[in-house]
Each structure stands twice: as C-alpha cells, then as structure tokens.
Amino acid sequence: MNTRKKNLGALLFCLPGLLILAVFVYFPLIENIIYSFQSFSLSSSSKTFVGLNNYKELFSDPVIWQSFKNNVLYAVVSVVMQVFFGLILAAILEDKVFRRSESFFQTVFFIPTLLSLTVVCLLFEFVYNPQMGLLNSFLEAIGLDSLTRIWLGNRDTAMLSIIAVSQWQSFGYVTMLFIVAIQKIPSDLYEAAIVDGAGKIRRFFTITCPMVKQMFFVTMVLTVSGAFTVFNEPYILTGGGPGTATMVLSLHMYQTGFVMNRMGYASTIAMLIFVITAVLSSVQFFSFGTGKEERE
C-alpha cells in the first residue's frame, strides 16, 4: 500500500494537536528563553538585550536563595509525608484486617483531592487564624495551650504551616496511587511468603516495597516537581510573608514579573524552575520509558 499517502493522511490527524502544542507550549518556551536575556516591562515597547545580567542577578538575589530553600523544604517534607507515609498507609489499608473499612477510609482520604486549591487554602486560613482558628482552639480545648502559635505570622512556623496544607490535600492521592500499585501485585506472591512463615512487616519489605518500586519512583518525582512549582498555597495564604519567609520560586517569579514589572528577570527565574523540573521529569521519563505499555 502507498505508505507515503497514508502517512500524509495520518499527519493530517496530528496537525491540530501539534499546532496547538507548537503555539502554546513550544513557542512560549522559546520566547521565555529569549526573554531571560532581556530587560523590559509590560508597558515598554522595546526590549533591551542585557546578556547574562539577569542570570548574574539570579545568583546574587537573596530572595532566590530563600525561595529555593523553601522549595527544598517543601520537597523533603512532601516526600516523607506523602511518599513514605502514603506507602505505609496504603499497605495498612490493603491489609486484610481493614478490608471491611478500606473503602470508607479510601473515600475519606481522597476527598481533599477533589477540592480546588483555592478552597483548601481559604479553609486553612480559618484553621490557622490566630483569633478563632480551629487549630489553636483545638489545642486549647485539649489543654495544650502552650503549643498554640501564630502559625502564619511567625517566621519559624509559617513555611511549615503552608507545607502542611499541601500534605493535608495530597497524601490521600498518593496513598491511592500506592493502593492501585499494591492491588496489582499478584496475590500468590504473598501466599507463598505466608507459607514460608514471613510476617506482615517482612512481607511489606520483601514483597510490597520491591513490587511498587516504580510507583515509588513516580510519586517521588511527582511530589518533588510539585514542590518546586508550588504557587497557590503561599500566594493565597501569606503572599510570601512575613517578609520573604514563605517565598517560593514561582511566587517570586510572579511578583517580579507582574508586580515589579520586570518581565526579563522574571523569565530568568522561570528558566531556573524549568531546569529544575525538567531535570527531575526527565529522570523519570528516561528511566522508566513512558512509551512502554507494561499494563493492560
């Protein structure tokens, strides 16, 4: 058959999609690279080429460093709370002991995933509110008055409080991913282990963990790159404050671009985010080959 003609037809099918990607993904990416070497504001009609100046500023900007540290903290806590804790939680829920209540807990833990981040953040404004906040009221109610804090207004607690919001929202989702992965483990593996006299903890480490290795990796990359692109939580809850205590890279980019009106430097910050997240995702992409269909 006429391969070339068929390819032409198939290419027509690809055209709308590739066009959209070209205009709204590839073109902006290239533009962003160019912008990162320029200096301009939204109202100025001309852009000035400034060479590597923006990149130099990137390395001397104290807010970048502060933001980066916050992103790293975000990543570390998310990995521990979501990936490790999520895996353990998934294993517990998948245990026969909890079979009857599993679907209830699954449903409940999954609910926060359904809510938009705006709703979750506004909700946590009330949780952390220093006057009538649920958290402080609760601590007082159980007699732990000494633990009450001004959660979002204090440099020591503000960032961790914001990170906690993400954990509240996302741990159920990651747990669900692990449950899906655990359910795919052939049950005869476990049966054989039981015959060998392996206890639950040993089965967890010798069967569950190795069998969900790929999912473990996937969730690591998901949470870490999520942590480096986080925007909504600090934007809504603190605006980066107090001072720059809760500043993260995306928010710094937004403020530089749209508040300070320095689009060139903001694009340079975007490049930093791009490099970090692209490296992370390509690790996943190339180690596990997205194109391989190992399932179904």
């Binding site: 001004i150 605006g239 404050g241 508040v259 009106n261």
Partner: protein, 426 residues
C-alpha cells in the same frame, strides 16, 4: 464521536461570541454612541453601585452605551499603564492623583479639561479644589476627582476619656499614650493586620513623608534618580520598628480588616490607622455606644517633612483624547460626579465624594463630615506609597516592613535592600 465533532464545531462557531462576551452592560448595545469605561472597583459594594448607576444613566440616555470593565488594584495599575499609551486606551478610566496621574498624562493620550471646567462653573465650582489640584499639572487640569480619602489614627474616645489621655500631636506624646494604654491593661494598644502589605506600606509612606524632606523624597521616589541614602530613612524604619512593638505578635498573621473588626471595633485595641473610606464599614460593626475620633499622624521631632500633610490622594477619572465621543464622555462624567451620585458614592460605596453638597443629608455619618474638614485643613495630600514610587522599591519596602515587625530584619538591612532595588532601576 460525531456528536463530539458537532459540539466542537459549535464551540468554534461560538468562540467569537465568547470573545465578545466580556461586556458587562447589555443596556443599549447597538446605540450610536459607545463609551468604554474602565475602573478599578470589581468588588462589592462599589461594583454593584457602578452597575446600577450605569443602568440608570443608559436608561436616561438611550442613545449611549457604556461598556464597563474593571479589575482589582494592582492588576488595574499594571493594565492601565500598559494600554494608556496605545490605541486601546479606554475612553474613560479611573486614576489616582499625583505621580500616577503624571504617568498617565505622559502618554499624551489624556484629554486636558480646562475648557470643560470653565464652560460649566456651576458644576466645576462644586468640586473640592484640593482634589482638583491633585489632577492639575502646570495649570492644566487632566482629571475629574470623584473621591477623596485620608489615612489617620482612629481612637476610641471612651477609653481615652476614662484614662484621661490627650490626643497626641508629636511622636513622643504618641508613644507616651501607647505606653499608658499598655500600662492600663490594653495589651495591644495599636491594632493592625500586617498580612496586607499595603497596610504596611501606608504606614511606611506616611513615616517617610514626615521624616524626610520633600525634595529628597521626590528625588528618591523617582525611579531614575532614587538612591535612598539619607540616614533618616533608617531612622524612619526605626520608628516603624518601635510602633510594631505595640501591635502584638498577632498583627503579623491577620489582615487589616480582621484587625479593624475584631480588635478596634470591640475596644480591645484603642487605636488603629484607618482610611476615611473605612468609616461605613467600621460603623457597621461597632456597638451603638462606640465613640471614636481621629488624629493625624503625629510629627517626628527630628522630621523634616511637613507634619500637616495628610496621606490619601484623591481619585478621579480621566478622559482619553482619542475617545470618539468626547462630548458624551464629558456628559457622562458630569452626571457621575454630581451631588446626587456623590451622595450614592458616600453612602453606598463608602468613599467620600469630592463634590460639594454630596455629604449632606441622611445616611452620611457625622464622622464623614469631620473627616471632610480634616481633609480640607491638611496642608497638602500626600500620595499613597504604592502610587508614589516604583514597585521594585515598594515591594522590598513592604516585605522589609513585615520582616521588621516579626523581628527578622533590622532597619539597616532593609534599607540596604531598598538601596539595591532602587539602584537596579537606573
């Protein structure tokens, strides 16, 4: 899939409808005279107020259609800066007075209004002259002021009387009052919500104005020449640091509105730095026997700025000289900036109208009338900090101000950052 295809086609066909669907007013869509009106009040109550006013105007003038759009504060600033110099400049748009107005005028697209003022003295004579002055540059008037505002310390009269406290006029007196209140058991004598960066900036703007002499300040606020090397800038931030010690730890975690409603209005904190525009909101939450008065920001003994100035520039409207129907725009604005509509602004919208006679009648609070007198007695109206200087500078100031309040930065370190930010602008 066919259904999907059909649906998709329908969507594509509808796309232009979506595109045009942004108009808020549907009144006289095909009227001959079209006006595009752009302002910065998308929030209620003002948004509904504008919708109602426009509907009323279009009903009275069926040959005119006003298309209105509005976005919030910072976004508005950014967008109007962007489009004022292009052909997309709105026919009628809102603007702050002072530096911001100058920026608008520099685009060359703002209509000079002297003729219009002179042609109708009965109307223009009613506009507060101090407010008109904010839109007048070298004798040319470029705007029609419609609201005036001022930021002053509101105080709880009952508590002041109980403790026998006098209204302070100097910084030393002010600090003495705050100490006395603290000693009397008011743990947080000064209420504020520092989560809102603008609340920090309102303070810092006034402190700078009082502290630094006018010429130096003007030079430093200009992005082209700003240096911020005067040692008094550090002194100014030290005053801020001193003030924050009276705001309690809680201040850094609540917003301005919360502080007003739950601390000042309840008598927990006897003093708060508020805008006159907040009077109606305050009135809604205070108990009936709550009595308050206000005093201007006290003078610094070492300050070089004018202590009788009042922070709070008037706002108004500008007309584009590219507008197709300038006469219609003028007619609309004269209708809007009138005692009747000024009264609606002052009662429904909460801001105080610039029009003489608008602040009479029922529904106008006594305190609004006092406020008016205070605005008229001020030596001049100083611009809000975030209108007066470049965002790269005031963002650093705002963040630094917060950090000083939480004890994470010193006045010196913040000024070093401000200087660096100002230097990067030239």
């Amino acid at each position: 899939m066919k259904k999907l295809l059909v649906a998709f086609m329908v969507m594509l066909a509808l796309a232009p409808v979506f595109a045009g669907g942004s108009s808020e007013s549907s009144g006289n869509a095909d009227a001959e005279t079209q006006i595009f009106f752009f302002h910065r009040w998308p929030n209620d109550p003002k948004n509904s107020m504008f919708n109602d006013l426009l509907a009323q105007y279009m009903e009275e003038n069926p040959d005119v259609n006003i298309e209105m759009d509005c976005i919030l504060n910072d976004q508005y600033k950014e967008r109007i800066r962007m489009i004022v110099s292009t052909n997309d400049v709105p026919d009628v748009f809102s603007s702050w007075s002072g530096t911001f107005a100058e920026e608008m005028i520099a685009s060359g697209n703002v209509l000079a209004l002297n003729d219009i003022y002179e042609a109708d003295p009965e109307w223009s004579g009613r506009l507060a002259s101090a407010s008109v002055a904010g839109f007048t540059f070298d004798g040319t008037i470029y705007g029609i002021p419609w609201s005036q505002d001022g930021k002053v310390f509101f105080y709880n009269k009952t508590i002041f009387e109980e403790l026998g406290l006098e209204v302070p006029t100097t910084w030393t007196e002010f600090i003495a009052v705050l100490d006395a209140l603290k000693a009397a058991g008011y743990e947080i004598p000064l209420a504020e919500g520092l989560v809102d960066q603008w609340a920090v900036l309102h303070y810092l703007g006034t402190i700078n104005q009082r502290m630094i002499d006018e010429e130096t300040l003007a030079k430093d606020y200009d992005p082209a020449t700003g240096e911020f090397t005067d040692p008094l800038y550090v002194t100014a931030l030290e005053k801020w640091q001193q003030l924050t010690t009276y705001m309690g730890d809680i201040a850094s975690a609540i917003d301005h509105e919360t502080a007003r409603n739950t601390m000042f209005a309840t008598g927990e904190s006897p003093i708060m730095y508020l805008q006159f525009a907040e009077i109606p909101m305050l009135e809604q939450v205070i108990p009936e026997d709550f009595e308050y008065g206000f005093f201007n920001f006290p003078a610094f003994e070492e300050g070089k700025g004018d202590p009788n100035a009042l922070t709070g520039a008037p706002e108004g409207f500008m007309i584009s000289n590219k507008a197709e129907n300038i006469d219609a725009c003028v007619d609309f604005l004269k209708w809007l900036v009138s005692p009747e509509r000024g009264y609606i602004l002052s009662t429904v919208g909460g801001d105080m109208s610039c029009v003489d006679g608008a602040l009479d009648g029922e529904g106008i609070y006594e305190s609004q009338k006092e406020a008016l007198a205070m605005i008229q007695n001020a030596s001049y109206l100083a611009a809000w900090f975030d209108n007066a200087c470049d965002p790269s500078v005031y963002v650093v100031y705002g963040q630094g101000g917060q950090a000083i309040a939480t004890g994470d930065a010193t006045p010196e370190s913040v000024m070093a950052q401000v200087q660096a930010a100002a230097a990067s602008l030239h």
